[in-house]
C-alpha cells in the first residue's frame, strides 16, 4: 500500500509544479464583474453560468444576477453565459491587469427549456460539444407540479429510451432499463452517481433467515428509493456505452447522474412545502368462479369436480356458476384508501465565499392494503390483538436531512461538501409469490364465500383461499434504514488553463430487515409456523469513491481549442451482513433468543474497481467538436488470467448551422449533427471467477458436524462484458426556438456477454458457471420534440412528445444451448428472455354447445394448438411514447398539465390468471358463460397435452394517463398578503388516473418481480398500481 500511495502522491506533486506558474501570473491579472439580466423583464437572472471560454474559469450568478471572476490573465477573452431556459450568449472583453472589467448580459428566454450544460465524467461541459445524446430532468421544476412520490416517479417517462417499472406497494423499488437489455445473465440496471460519487443502488434489498420465505414474496426495497426527490436539483441520464465509457466497467447499462441542490449566494431563502393526499386502488380485478354440478348418477349438486372441460365431455352436468369478486365486496376487500403526507423545509443562502443549502423533510405514506372489515369485527369481538402491521401492513416513514456547503477558498480553489442523512422505516405485506402472502389467498379462493374454514384453526374463509388477511398480516415484514451519504470535492485551478479536481465520498447504509410472528399467530402454513418466528438481518453497505483528475485547456493556432483530461477513479463496494433468527418462540416473546430453533448466517460481498482515463477534446471554431478517450479498468472480480480492460471512445459534434455557407429556411435556427462511438462494460460478480467451497453443518449419526462442499467452479478466464455502441443523431431548433427536435439512432453490441451457463446435472457440480460466451445486440431510435406553441404574457402552451424503440437480439450464445425457462427463453436470434410457447392457433365450437372442449380425437377437438414451441413476443415493451401537454392561463399563473404514456410491442405474462385456472377459479375453466378466448386459454394450459401457456401471454400495450396536475401560482403581492411569503403556489395532482389496454389481467405494468434481477417480469397474484391524488403547497420566504 505505501508503494501505491507513493505513486499516487507523485500525481499531486506534479500538479504542484504548476504553482510557480500561478505566482508568475498573479502580477498580470485582473477581474471581471458580470451582470446577467432577463432581456424582457430586466430582472436579474440567478444561477446563470458564466464561463471564460477556453479556460477553466467559470462561476454561477447569485440572486442579484451578478458574479465576479478574479485572477483573470490580462488580455482579450470571450465570455459565455449559459442558463437553462435562456438562449446562450457570448461577448468579448479585455482584461487589464489590476483592474476590474464589467460586462452586462441581457439574455433572452428560450421557448424550450433545454439544459445547456451537462455533467460528464470529465466535469461540466456544454451540451452542444457532446457527441452523444443526454437526457436531463429538471427535478426541482418537475416536483413543483407533478405527483412525484419517489425517485422512480421522477424518472418515469421523462426521458426517451429509459423505461421505468415500479413495484406496486408503497416503498418498493423499480426496474430501470436504458436502451434495452445488454446482458443475458448479469444485471441490466444502470449505475447511479450522486454528487460525483457512486451511489448504492442495490435491488431486492430485503431478506431474513426466518419468516415466510425470508422475503416479501414480491417486490422489495431498492436503495435508490431511499433518496428524497426534493433534495435533487437535476438528473442526467447517460444512456449508453458511447457516452458512458469514462464511467468504466459497470456503466454499459447507462449512468444516472444525480446532482443535489446547492446553496446560492444571497440572503437566506426559505422554501416550505407541504403535501397531503390519498391513495386509491382503482384497478380491475378478476372474478372467481365455481361450477356447481353433478357427476352421472349423482343427485346432489356440488362444486369441486365440475369444470367446463368435464361439462363438455359429459363427465359432469353443470347446474350453475357462482362468482365472487373479493375486491368489489366492501366487507371482504383487503383494500382501503391510503394516505400520504410530506412536510419539507429548505433554506439556501450565503456569500460568494460560502454558500449553504439545508433541507429537512418528513414523509409518511400508508399504502392501500388494509385489514378487511369482516376481520376487524372478528378481531374486535374475540378480543384478538390488532397490531399496526396487521391493520395496515404497507407503510413508509422517511426522514431526511441534507446539508450542502460550497466554499470559494480563493479564486483558484473552491471546495464543496454534501451530506445527506436518511432514516427510513417501512413495512411490506407478504404478497404474490409467498405461500403465506395475500395474493395467494385473495386471488385463489372459489366463487363463493361459503368455502369452509381455515385448516386447523377454524376461522371462516369468506372466499379467501386457505387463510384470511389477518393471518397473513400477523407477520411483520419490516425494514429500517439509516443512511449517510457524503462527498467532498475540491476544484483547484492553478492556472487559467489547468483545473484539477478531487472527489472523495462514501455512501453508507445501515439496513435492518426484520420479521416477527408471535407464537400462536399467523397462518397454519406448516406445523411450526404458528409457533412463532423472529428474524433480524443487519447489513452494512459501504460504497467508497475516490475520483481525481485534471484538465488542461489550450488553444492551437487561432481556431482550435484543445482540452486534455486525465483522471483516476477508485470504487470500493462492501456489503456485510449478519443474520440471526429463530422459530418456535416462547409465548409473548419477540426476542430471537427465546426461539428453540436458532438460525444464524453471515454474508460478505466485496468488489473493487480501479480505473484510469485520458480524454482529448478538440474544438474547431466553436462549432466542430471532436473527442477521443480511453479508459483502463481493473477489477477484483476479473479472473486471474485477465488483468485489465481498455474501453475506447470517440465522438464528433458539428454545429453545422454556424457555418457561413449554411443555407436553410429562415424558420430553422440551429442544426447540430452528432456521432459517437464508445465502449463500456459490466463486471461479473465478486466471486464469479473463483473456485471455492462453502461451509455448513449437518447431522451425521446424530451428531452435528462441520461440512465443506464445493460451491462454485469458478472461471479463471472471466472478464467483463464489453458493450460497444455507435450513436448518431441531430438536433434542430426552429421557429425562434419554439420547437426543438432531437433524434437519435443507436446500435450497440455486447461482446463477451456473460452467460450463466447452465451445467448439465451429470457434472455433479453447481448449477451454473459464468462464462464469456455470447453477444447481444440492441438497436433503436429515440425522438424528442419539445414545442412552445404559445408563449404570451397571458397564455402559454407547450407540448412535448418523445418516443423510443429498441430492438433487442441475442446474436450468439457461444456454445451454449438456449437458456430455457418455463415461459421465457434466451435463444440466439431472439430477444433476451422472450416469451415462448406452443401457439394457440384458434378454436371452434364444433358441437355448438357454447363450450370449448379438448378431445384427443382431432375431429372433435375444439382448441387448436401448434406443434412447435415458437417465439411469441417481447416480455417487456420495446416501444414507448410520452405526450406531455401544458396550458397556462391568467398571466400564466394557472397551469394545467398532463402526461400520457404509451408502451407496447410486447406481451405481458398474466401469471395470475394461469394460477387461478389451476386453483381452479378462473372464468375460462369455471364460468359457463366465459368468452371463448378464456376457455381456449385454459384448455390449452390445463387439458391439452401441449400444456401451453400461450393464452396467458396477453397484449401488453397500453396508454396511461400517468400524471395530471393543476397549479396556481399566486402573485408575489398576494403571496405576501395571504401568508407573508415571497412566493406561493398550490398544486392539485393525480398519478395513474386512467388506463387503456387490451391486456386481460389487472395491469400490464403490474409485476411481482419488478425489482428482481430477471428480465421477464410478469403479473403474479399482485395488487395493481394505485392512483395518487395529492395536494401540494409551495411557499417561499
Amino acid at each position: 500500500m505505501p508503494q501505491f500511495w507513493r505513486h499516487c502522491l507523485a500525481l499531486v506533486g506534479l500538479l504542484t509544479l504548476a504553482a510557480p506558474q500561478i505566482r508568475a501570473q498573479q502580477g498580470s491579472t485582473g477581474s471581471l464583474a458580470v451582470t446577467v439580466t432577463d432581456a424582457a423583464s430586466k430582472r436579474p437572472v440567478e444561477a446563470a453560468r458564466v464561463f471564460l471560454v477556453g479556460t477553466a474559469i467559470g462561476a454561477p450568478t447569485g440572486p442579484d444576477g451578478k458574479v465576479t471572476l478574479r485572477l483573470l490573465p490580462a488580455g482579450e477573452h470571450t465570455v459565455r453565459v449559459l442558463r437553462v431556459g435562456y438562449a446562450e450568449q457570448t461577448k468579448k472583453v479585455t482584461i487589464v491587469a489590476g483592474q476590474t472589467a464589467t460586462l452586462e448580459f441581457a439574455i433572452a428566454t428560450a421557448a424550450v427549456n433545454l439544459q445547456p450544460v451537462v455533467t460528464t465524467a470529465t466535469g461540466e461541459q456544454r451540451r452542444v460539444e457532446l457527441g452523444n445524446a443526454t437526457a436531463n430532468i429538471d427535478a426541482a421544476k418537475v416536483l413543483e407540479v407533478a405527483p412525484v412520490g419517489s425517485l422512480s416517479d421522477l424518472l418515469n417517462s421523462r426521458a426517451p429510451g429509459v423505461t421505468v417499472t415500479t413495484g406496486t406497494q408503497t416503498g418498493t423499488g423499480s426496474r430501470i432499463r436504458v436502451r434495452g437489455m445488454n446482458s443475458v445473465s448479469l444485471s441490466n440496471e444502470p449505475i447511479w452517481i450522486i454528487d460525483g460519487i457512486r451511489m448504492t443502488s442495490t435491488q431486492a434489498d430485503f431478506n431474513t433467515v426466518t419468516g415466510s420465505g425470508g422475503t416479501t414474496g414480491g417486490n422489495n426495497a431498492s436503495r435508490t428509493g431511499d433518496i428524497s426527490p426534493d433534495d435533487i436539483e437535476n438528473i442526467e441520464i447517460v444512456k449508453g456505452p458511447s457516452a458512458a465509457t469514462l464511467y468504466g466497467t459497470d456503466a454499459a447499462n447507462g449512468v444516472i447522474l444525480v446532482t443535489t441542490k446547492k446553496g446560492r449566494a444571497g440572503a437566506a431563502r426559505w422554501s416550505v412545502t407541504g403535501e397531503g393526499g390519498s391513495i386509491q386502488d382503482r384497478n380491475y380485478y378478476p372474478y372467481a368462479y365455481s361450477i356447481f354440478g353433478k357427476r352421472p348418477g349423482e343427485t346432489v349438486s356440488s362444486r369441486g369436480f365440475c369444470n367446463l372441460q368435464r361439462v363438455g365431455t359429459g363427465e359432469c352436468l353443470a347446474d350453475s356458476t357462482s362468482s365472487l369478486n373479493i375486491f368489489k365486496n366492501s366487507n371482504l376487500t383487503p383494500l382501503d384508501v391510503g394516505n400520504r403526507q410530506k412536510l419539507g423545509v429548505q433554506v439556501s443562502g450565503g456569500s460568494e465565499a460560502l454558500r449553504y443549502f439545508l433541507g429537512v423533510e418528513d414523509e409518511k405514506e400508508v399504502g392501500v392494503l388494509s385489514l378487511p372489515q369482516f376481520e376487524r369485527r372478528r378481531v374486535d369481538s374475540l378480543g384478538l390483538p390488532l397490531r399496526p402491521w396487521t391493520s395496515r401492513p404497507n407503510a413508509l416513514d422517511r426522514k431526511t436531512l441534507r446539508m450542502n456547503l460550497n466554499a470559494a477558498i480563493n479564486p483558484k480553489l473552491d471546495v464543496a461538501l454534501t451530506t445527506n442523512f436518511i432514516n427510513l422505516a417501512q413495512r411490506y405485506s407478504l404478497e404474490s409469490n409467498a405461500t403465506a402472502g395475500l395474493g395467494s389467498q385473495v386471488f385463489g379462493g372459489p366463487g363463493t364465500t361459503d368455502n369452509g374454514t381455515i385448516s386447523t384453526v377454524g376461522t371462516p374463509l369468506n372466499g379467501y383461499r386457505a387463510w384470511t388477511p389477518y393471518y397473513t398480516w400477523s407477520e411483520k415484514t419490516g425494514q429500517t434504514i439509516n443512511r449517510f451519504i457524503w462527498s467532498s470535492q475540491a476544484n483547484w485551478r492553478p492556472t487559467t488553463w489547468l483545473s484539477t479536481h478531487a472527489t472523495v465520498g462514501n455512501d453508507w447504509t445501515g439496513r435492518v430487515d426484520d420479521n416477527l410472528l408471535y407464537r400462536g399467530e399467523g397462518p397454519p402454513l406448516t406445523a411450526t409456523t404458528r409457533l412463532g418466528s423472529r428474524g433480524i438481518n443487519s447489513v452494512n453497505i459501504n460504497n467508497l469513491s475516490v475520483d481525481v483528475g485534471g484538465t488542461a485547456q489550450y488553444n492551437l493556432f487561432t481556431k482550435f481549442s484543445l482540452k486534455t483530461t486525465v483522471g483516476a477513479q477508485y470504487i470500493g463496494f462492501r456489503n456485510q451482513g449478519a443474520q440471526t433468527g429463530s422459530t418456535q418462540l416462547a409465548p409473548g416473546s419477540q426476542n430471537v433468543g427465546s426461539g428453540t430453533a436458532l438460525v444464524v448466517a453471515e454474508g460478505t460481498t466485496i468488489q473493487k474497481t480501479l480505473g484510469f482515463f485520458v480524454e482529448q477534446a478538440v474544438a474547431f471554431r466553436d462549432r466542430l467538436f471532436l473527442t477521443a478517450a480511453v479508459r483502463s479498468d481493473q477489477n477484483s472480480a476479473f479472473g486471474t488470467n485477465f488483468q485489465s480492460v481498455l474501453y475506447p471512445k470517440a465522438s464528433v459534434s458539428y454545429l453545422i448551422s454556424e457555418e457561413d455557407w449554411w443555407k436553410a429556411p429562415r424558420f430553422i435556427n440551429s442544426v447540430r449533427f452528432r456521432y459517437s462511438y464508445g465502449q463500456s462494460g459490466v463486471q461479473p460478480g465478486p466471486n464469479d471467477a473463483l473456485r471455492f467451497y462453502n461451509a455448513s453443518t449437518t447431522s451425521v449419526a446424530g451428531t452435528d458436524q462441520p461440512t465443506v462442499i464445493q460451491a462454485a467452479l469458478g472461471n479463471a478466464d472471466l472478464k467483463p462484458e464489453r458493450s460497444a455502441e455507435h450513436e448518431t443523431g441531430f438536433e434542430v431548433t426552429m421557429f425562434s426556438g419554439r420547437v426543438n427536435v432531437d433524434a437519435t439512432y443507436y446500435s450497440k453490441i455486447t461482446q463477451d456477454a456473460l452467460i450463466s451457463a447452465v451445467l448439465p446435472p451429470s457434472y455433479g457440480a453447481v448449477t451454473s458457471q459464468l462464462r464469456n460466451l455470447g453477444a447481444v445486440k440492441n438497436a433503436g431510435a429515440e425522438l424528442a420534440i419539445n414545442t412552445q406553441l404559445a408563449d404570451g404574457k397571458q397564455f402559454g402552451w407547450n407540448i412535448n412528445v418523445s418516443g423510443s424503440m429498441n430492438a433487442n437480439k441475442v446474436v450468439s450464445l457461444g456454445n451454449n444451448p438456449p437458456q430455457i425457462g418455463t415461459t421465457s427463453r434466451t435463444v440466439a436470434g431472439y430477444p433476451i428472455a422472450g416469451l415462448w410457447a406452443q401457439p394457440i392457433n384458434g378454436w371452434q365450437d364444433k358441437n355448438k354447445d357454447g363450450l370449448l372442449t379438448y378431445f384427443a380425437d382431432p375431429n372433435k377437438n375444439e382448441v387448436f394448438i401448434g406443434d412447435s414451441i415458437i417465439f411469441r413476443g417481447y416480455a417487456t415493451p420495446p416501444y414507448s411514447a410520452t405526450l406531455t401537454n401544458g396550458l397556462e392561463f391568467f398571466g400564466r399563473k394557472l397551469r394545467f398539465s398532463t402526461m400520457f404514456d404509451y408502451r407496447g410491442g410486447n406481451k405481458w405474462y398474466n401469471n395470475t390468471e394461469r394460477i387461478r385456472c389451476t386453483r381452479p377459479n378462473c372464468s375460462g375453466r369455471n364460468n359457463l358463460t366465459a368468452q371463448f378466448v378464456d376457455q381456449a386459454t385454459n384448455i390449452a394450459a390445463n387439458e391439452a397435452p401441449a400444456r401451453t401457456l400461450d393464452g396467458y401471454f396477453q397484449p401488453g400495450a397500453f396508454v396511461r394517463l400517468r400524471e395530471t396536475s393543476v397549479q396556481y401560482t399566486f402573485s408575489p403581492t398576494l403571496a405576501s398578503k395571504l401568508v407573508k411569503a415571497r412566493s406561493l403556489s398550490v398544486v392539485l395532482s393525480a398519478r395513474n388516473l386512467k388506463l387503456w389496454t387490451k391486456y386481460r389481467g389487472t395491469d400490464p405494468e403490474s409485476g411481482f418481480n419488478t425489482t428482481g434481477t430477471g428480465d421477464a417480469p410478469q403479473e403474479f397474484q399482485t395488487v395493481g398500481p394505485p392512483s395518487y391524488f395529492v395536494f401540494r403547497v409551495n411557499l417561499g420566504y
Binding site: A466, T605, S636, Y693, S696, T707, V708, Q710, V758, R947
Partner: protein, 464 residues
C-alpha cells in the same frame, strides 16, 4: 480575434500543460503497479481449494458428501417423494404444478423439482468421489468413512437407475474437473451401483461398529441392485447376514436440516398419503393403486379428514397425513426389513412359497419400528394361492414396509420388466382429481438441463 497574450495561447502553459498531462498519464500507469494489492479482496464467506487439503478438511468434505447424500433420501424433496408421487405412495395437495404433473404422470422435461432431485443425485456421486480421493490421500486408514462414501455413490446410482428413464449420462471414472459423459441404460447404471457397493463392502471389512454398519448398509443396497438386475440368485446372499433390527440412518437436527418427509407431508401438507379413492368426497376411483390411506395398516397410520378442517397447501384437498415422521425423525436408508423383503422375493421367485410366507409372517409378528411408529403385531398372511396374487401380495407388503423410502417406483417398474405386468395394470389409471386423466409416465425424465451435455439428446426411451 485574439492576440498572443490571450489565455491558452501562451507557449509556456501549453508546454507545461502537455508535460503535466504526460506526467499524469505516466504516474497513473505507475499507480497500476500497486493495483494488485489495492484490488485484493478477501471474502470471509468462501473456502479456497488450498484450504481443504488437511485431514480435518477431508473429513469435512466427507461430511459434506453425507450432507448431500441426505438430500436424496429424507433430507430433501428427493425422488423418495417424487417417485412416490409418480407411483402410488403420495398424491399431490400442493399448489406446485411440478408436483401436480408428476402425480398426473405427465412430467415435463423441464420440471424444476425433478431437475433439482437429479442434480442432487449426481452431486452425491461427485462429492463422494471427491471425498474418496481426499480421504485416501490424508486419511487412508478411515476405511469405514471411505466405505460410506462408496455407499453414498452406489446408493445414488441405485436411485438414479430405479427412478429415471433409460439414457442417464454417467461414467464410473471420476474426474475432479467435471466432464461430459454419455447416456447409459438403467441396466448399465445398476451395474455401476453394483461396482460401487461392492467396493464399499470391501472397504468396510473391519469389526468395529461403524465398519459393520456400513458393510450391512452396502450389502442391503447391493441386494436391491441384484434384484433390479434380475440376479435373484445372488440377491439373497448379499443380505443373509443382515439382522432384521439393523438400520443405517440419516439423522436430522433443528440446528441443521430437518426431516423433509415430515416437512413436505405432515407439516406443509403438500403431499397426501396415496389412496385408491381420491377427491374430497372420496368418489374418484384410481385403478391399480395400493390404498395406503384407507387400508388402515398399522405400519402406516393415516388420518383421513372428511371436512376441510385439514386442507392441503393448495387450500382445496382434504389431505391425508401420517405421523410416521416428526421434525427430526431419522430415516432408514437401508435396514433389516429391506433385507427380509429381498429374501422373501427371492424365495417367491424360486417358488418356495412356504419360506416366502414365513419370512413375511415372522416380520409381521414382531414388526420393527418404522420412523416414529411402532406397529402392533400383524395377523399372519395367508397364501393367496396363485403366483400372480402372491406377486401382488409380495409387492404390497414391501410397499407398506418401505413406504416413501424410494423403493416403490423401482418396484412398480420391475413388476412390468420382470413379472410381465403392464403399465395399464400397474400404474395409477383414470380421472385425476385435479383435472384431466392420468398420463403414461412410468419414470422420471432426465431433465432438460442435461441437454447442455452435447452427448445427451433426451431419454433413450421412457420404457419401464
Amino acid at each position: 480575434m485574439t492576440n498572443k497574450h490571450t489565455t491558452g495561447r501562451l507557449l509556456s502553459p501549453k508546454r507545461i500543460g502537455a508535460a503535466v498531462v504526460f506526467s499524469l498519464t505516466l504516474s497513473s500507469v505507475a499507480c497500476q503497479s500497486a493495483n494488485d494489492r489495492l484490488l485484493q479482496v478477501t471474502d470471509p464467506d468462501i473456502i479456497n481449494p488450498s484450504d481443504v487439503l488437511s485431514s480435518d478438511a477431508a473429513n469435512a468434505l466427507a461430511f459434506g458428501a453425507i450432507s448431500t447424500f441426505k438430500t436424496i433420501t429424507g433430507g430433501g424433496e428427493s425422488t423418495w417423494m417424487f417417485g412416490g408421487l409418480l407411483a402410488d405412495e403420495w398424491s399431490t395437495s400442493s399448489t406446485f404444478i411440478q408436483n401436480d404433473e408428476t402425480d398426473q404422470r405427465l412430467i415435463q422435461e423441464n420440471n424444476a423439482t425433478v431437475t433439482g432431485e437429479l442434480r442432487n443425485l449426481y452431486r452425491t456421486r461427485q462429492r463422494a468421489n471427491e471425498s474418496i480421493v481426499a480421504l485416501n490421500k490424508v486419511n487412508p486408514n478411515s476405511r469405514a468413512l471411505i466405505a460410506e462414501m462408496y455407499l453414498a455413490r452406489g446408493f445414488a446410482e441405485l436411485q438414479l437407475a430405479s427412478d429415471f428413464c433409460n439414457g442417464i449420462p454417467i461414467s464410473n471414472v471420476y474426474s475432479a474437473d467435471p466432464t461430459y459423459t454419455s447416456p447409459q441404460t438403467t441396466a448399465v447404471v445398476f451395474g455401476y451401483a453394483a461396482a460401487s457397493l461392492d467396493t464399499a463392502i470391501n472397504y468396510a471389512n473391519g469389526t468395529d461398529a461403524q465398519s459393520v454398519l456400513i458393510n450391512r448398509a452396502a450389502r442391503v443396497s447391493r441386494g436391491r441392485v441384484a434384484l433390479a438386475l434380475g440376479d435373484f440368485a445372488n440377491a439373497a446372499s448379499f443380505v443373509a447376514a443382515v439382522p432384521t433390527s439393523f438400520a443405517y440412518q440419516h439423522t436430522f437436527s433443528l440446528a441443521t436440516t430437518t426431516n423433509t418427509l415430515w416437512g413436505q407431508g405432515l407439516s406443509s401438507r403438500r403431499y397426501s398419503v396415496g389412496d385408491s379413492l381420491e377427491g374430497n368426497k372420496r368418489d374418484i376411483l384410481v385403478a391399480n393403486v395400493i390404498p395406503f390411506a384407507s387400508a388402515k395398516d398399522p405400519r402406516l397410520p393415516v388420518t383421513i379428514p372428511t371436512t376441510g378442517a385439514i386442507n392441503g397447501q393448495d387450500g382445496l384437498t382434504y389431505t391425508r397425513t401420517t405421523t410416521m415422521w416428526g421434525q427430526v425423525t431419522s430415516v432408514d436408508v437401508a435396514n433389516g426389513v429391506d433385507a427380509r423383503m429381498i429374501e422373501a422375493e427371492v424365495a417367491l421367485k424360486a417358488g418356495n412359497t412356504a419360506s416366502w410366507l414365513s419370512i413375511h409372517n415372522t416380520l409381521r409378528a414382531t414388526p420393527p419400528k418404522l420412523g416414529d411408529i411402532q406397529p402392533t403385531g400383524l395377523a399372519p398372511l395367508v397364501d393367496p394361492g396363485t403366483p400372480e396374487a402372491r406377486t401382488s401380495l409380495q409387492f404390497r407388503e414391501k410397499a407398506f414396509w418401505t413406504f416413501s423410502r424410494g423403493e416403490r417406483l423401482g418396484d412398480m417398474r420391475r413388476l412390468i420388466k420382470q413379472y410381465g405386468r403392464t403399465e395399464l395394470n400397474t400404474f395409477p389409471q383414470g380421472v385425476h382429481y385435479k383435472g384431466g386423466s392420468y398420463g403414461k409416465d412410468v419414470n422420471l425424465p432426465v431433465s432438460f438441463d442435461e441437454r447442455n451435455n452435447p452427448n445427451f439428446k433426451g431419454c433413450i426411451d421412457r420404457a419401464p
